[in-house]
Symmetry: C2
Subunit: 139 residues, 2 copies
DNA sequence: AGGTTTGATCATGAACAAGTGATATTTGAA
DNA sequence: TTCAAATATCACTTGTTCATGATCAAACCT
């Protein structure tokens, strides 16, 4: 469903969001807690910063924090820098322009499901998942 | 959502299923009608044959036919040889074993959507999509 | 039997995703 | 002011997907 990189991004953002006090969390600590290669996660975090999801602080006791309160960050925003979510990628059969006027063979039935996927990513927020609890590590 | 190869498989199977009389359709004709590289499609069709979705006939006026009536082929069967559909790939965050007992942070909310994706692929048949009409070509 | 049509297979390469290691750059604190 | 901690980059390796071209093998037709 998501690329591995986007999964990493989700898990990292959620762990940052869970940090009591919201204080900066270092990438090394995130990488270890999540079981993700450190340098790889570093690049992912950097892109999340440039996308306005996280803010980074350099230097000692630096790290990453949420750029906004968690209830104002939809999951689609976390995932979008990495994956083309079903915003436009509606068509199950890969047609570039698939719509009600020029539908593919699966359009009518798939549309219903795709719309719910889109709704999930657009309307679920980081704060929602923080509230739910659940595991973020590899196991 | 699906790999390009799985998209090719779906489109090819549907076009075969539409063939009046069910007579064999050659891979070259399929490739041209669908706008898919010929040799690449050839391998895809071969795997669909080994998976029991299509049967192939060699020699003159050979080609591919459905191995069973279209209403007995669920979409999941067409896609499964190529992609790991959300049969087990439930977890949005990529955890290997994610379930109600050991849920990830997204489990509770994502489960609802994932179940509908699974239902779509398990319960929609090739015949359903043939009946709906719609385009199969690249445009 | 021979040739043509067709699927089956092999070898190769481009593009991209994922992962690794090393280095530069900024910043706070001793 | 110097050092150490942390992010920011760079260069490179590996593996997978997608694609292309060439060749092999089976079946049908004359």
């Amino acid at each position: 469903m998501l690329s591995r990189t986007a999964e990493y991004a989700m898990r990292a953002v959620l762990l940052v969001a869970r940090e009591p006090g919201g204080g900066p969390v270092g990438s090394a600590r995130l990488a270890e807690a999540l079981g993700i290669p450190r340098n790889y996660l570093s690049k992912t975090l950097h892109l999340l910063g440039r996308s306005g999801i996280l803010v980074s602080t350099r230097g000692k006791s630096g790290g990453f924090q949420l750029a906004r309160p968690g209830d104002q960050i939809a999951l689609i925003e976390v995932v979008a820098p990495f994956d083309d979510l079903p915003s436009k990628r509606y068509c199950l059969l890969g047609r570039r322009a698939c719509n009600d006027q020029s539908p593919c063979a699966a359009h009518g039935r798939w549309k219903v499901v795709a719309e719910q996927i889109g709704e999930f990513f657009r309307e679920t927020t980081v704060a929602d998942l923080v509230k739910d609890g659940g595991r973020l590590g590899r196991v």
